[in-house]
């Protein structure tokens, strides 16, 4: 095992105890990147080569020089006896949807390919203030619009380290893949419909979507402003807890960052689950989706391996003293995607109006006669298909004559989805759950190009994760086994507002209970 394969917790201890320098840890990650990543994503990449099929392609921008300066400072502080910070010397990657001062901050779009951020997003600033070392900016679906990372304008798009023929999930695909492949110990992602949890599940790592407002959105290039949640990805629950501890908390730069104190997520991490009530819901063991031809809705159970993984986890947690509550009704789960099609598009269209070819970003090189022509040409050339689709849908469903039919109705149904969670978690209610346990995704990672282009089917990959975004509640995805296709299965824990500590506690208990199981020894294919 190399340094880059150690957990963030171990790396922080090793660096602090000066058993390895921060520079040595970084160099280990850079060697791993050189060995497995292949060329970074670029605009106009041309045809993919055979060699491209053999790389992970997590990165858009490698910031090795910047990282070396940071590691040198960590090592200097340690040598001088100064406090280097809680995550001193721990390498992390940042989804390229966050502004980081003096780095390209592209949103994986041609529109922002030339944009160099003049300031740093709060979660990144907090990571760096804690001594963590940013290795680079990683790939994503363009503006986060997707569930496979394939819509990035920067190709080759990221591949799944477990099987390079499969997608890593998305939109935080580069984040999940970089952590799974040992290119960094941690990554900062965002979750608007499942974009941390779904790729974490597909790549066999841990991902946390915090409560809306738990982590500041300052410096995050916006998609759906009422849904976007920055959060951590790591290889263990403890690492995710460590990172969340650093990035969470109020922020004067973001008026939606809750003024709630951040608890100590590590203090009770190994306190167990005895007496906790953990629910299972039939609505999370089935998927509902529209037939592409007729539009009629179909329901079918999730594949048996997904349900078996959840039931195995429930059995393990019951063995530790948790009470498993069956048949918790979550009747509005199926409406999560239709509601998302409306709300997220309205918010995306609003957020994308700022790109005009004037203030920053892409500007057409074609001659134009007047300002509106500049807008049209710049936006048409700068945006890919997925942003265009969201702009058009957002404008349609929020138009005055359709708003009551679509947008206002979707906001009402969103309240019903929230009520499902309130009833399940109500301490005086019938179910009194501490958490709901579900599969994270309806399937394991799907093949590259199998779904891309069908925007409806792609969106339904988020069916089990998006309700938490509508409700604002926190969610944790963690590895729950290996399916017969050799790919990781993700388990999801959902809890009441600001209950991240409890979810991490349950996740850690499950990790400890299953650490001797054979599937935990299996490593991503790219690592040999």
């Amino acid at each position: 095992m190399e340094l880059c394969d150690l957990s963030a917790l171990e790396l922080a201890q090793i660096v602090r105890q000066r058993r390895a320098s921060a520079v040595e840890v970084l160099d280990s990650c850079l060697r791993r990147i050189a060995a497995v990543d292949g060329r970074p994503g670029v605009l106009d990449a041309g045809r993919l080569t055979d060699e491209d099929q053999r790389g992970v392609h997590a990165f858009i921008t490698l910031t090795a020089e910047r990282a070396h300066a940071q590691t040198a400072e960590v090592d200097r502080k340690l040598a001088a006896g100064e406090e280097p910070g809680r995550l001193a010397g721990v390498p992390f990657t940042t989804k390229d949807i966050f502004c980081v001062k003096d780095t390209p901050s592209t949103a994986a779009s041609r529109m922002l390919a030339n944009f160099v951020a003049p300031y740093t997003a709060t979660p990144v600033a907090r990571m760096e203030a804690s001594g963590a070392v940013m290795v680079g900016k990683v790939n994503l679906d363009e503006y986060t619009y997707g569930s496979s990372t394939e819509s990035s304008a920067f190709q080759p798009s990221t591949r799944n380290p477990w099987n390079l023929g499969r997608v890593p999930g998305g939109s935080s695909g580069g984040s999940a893949a970089s952590v799974a492949a040992g290119e960094a110990a941690l990554s900062l992602g965002t979750d608007t419909a499942g974009s941390i949890r779904q790729p974490a599940a597909f790549c066999g790592v841990v991902g946390v979507k915090p409560t809306y407002g738990r982590v500041s959105r300052y410096g995050l290039i916006a998609f759906g402003s009422s849904l976007d949640c920055p959060g951590p990805l790591g290889r263990t629950v403890t690492d995710a807890a460590l990172m969340l501890q650093v990035i969470a908390g109020p922020d004067p730069h973001d008026s939606t960052a809750a003024a709630a104190p951040t608890p100590d997520y590590l203090a009770n991490l190994e306190a167990g689950v005895k007496g906790m009530r953990i629910g299972l819901s039939p609505e999370y063991f089935q998927i509902t989706f529209p037939d592409a031809r007729t539009g009629e809705y179909k329901q079918q159970p999730v594949p048996p391996e997904m349900e078996q993984a959840v039931r195995h986890a429930a059995w393990a947690l019951a063995g530790l003293g948790a009470e498993i509550v069956e048949d918790v009704p979550m009747p509005n789960t199926r409406y999560g995607i239709p509601v998302y099609f409306v709300i997220s598009r309205v918010e995306a269209a609003s957020n994308l109006h700022r790109y005009d070819g004037v203030k920053y970003g892409y500007r057409t090189a074609q001659p134009v006669r007047e300002l509106k022509e500049l807008y049209r040409k710049s936006r048409s050339e700068g945006f890919g298909l997925q942003p265009k689709l969201r702009i058009l849908m957002g404008m349609y469903v929020s138009a005055a004559q359709y708003s009551a039919q679509y947008y206002k109705r979707a906001l009402g149904v969103r309240s019903l989805i929230r009520q499902d969670f309130e009833q399940a978690f109500d301490p005086q209610g019938k179910y009194r759950l501490d958490a709901l346990l579900t599969p994270t995704t309806p399937t394991t990672a799907f093949p590259m190009a199998a779904v891309y282009g069908d925007s409806v089917l792609m969106q339904y990959a988020d069916q089990l994760t998006v309700p938490a975004n509508h409700a604002g509640v926190p969610g944790l995805s963690l590895p729950g086994g290996i399916a017969p296709d050799g790919l990781p299965v993700g388990l999801q824990l959902l809890g009441p507002d600001f209950s991240e500590g409890r979810l991490l506690q349950i996740g850690r208990a499950y990790e400890l209970a299953t650490e001797a199981e054979a599937w935990r020894k299996v490593r991503p294919g790219v690592l040999g």
């Binding site: 004067p252 099609f341 022509e373 906001l411």
Partner: protein
């Protein structure tokens, strides 16, 4: 099922969105929009009591977790040059744009 968004409505939306699309893009995007609208129509089947409040955020913001507003005071921004420097076309400290035709408001 007929397409809810006709070519005419689609062309109107494209104009509002300040986009220009070639034929292939327009065909794909209109098809996907209609496909998504079919999924959205499922919402119409939900009995929605008029008393159900709409949610702008899932998480409520009671006073105890609502951040206090900052004082409304002017503060110099330290990044002015870097921010202005991002403009694709500049003339001195001005951002250059093409002609803005005179429009008479109705």
């Amino acid at each position: 099922m007929t397409d809810e968004i006709s070519p005419e409505t689609f062309a109107y939306l494209v104009g509002l969105a300040a986009l220009e699309l070639d034929e292939t893009q327009a065909e794909y995007l209109r098809s996907e929009l209609n496909h998504q609208l079919k999924a959205i129509h499922e919402l119409e089947a939900i009995p929605l009591d008029e008393n159900v409040p709409i949610s702008l955020h899932g998480v409520p913001y009671p006073p105890e977790i609502s951040p206090a507003l900052r004082p409304d005071e002017w503060q110099p921004d330290p990044h002015t040059a870097a921010i202005l420097g991002q403009a694709p076309r500049q003339a001195g400290r001005y951002i250059e744009v093409p002609d803005i035709p005179h429009t008479t408001l109705e």
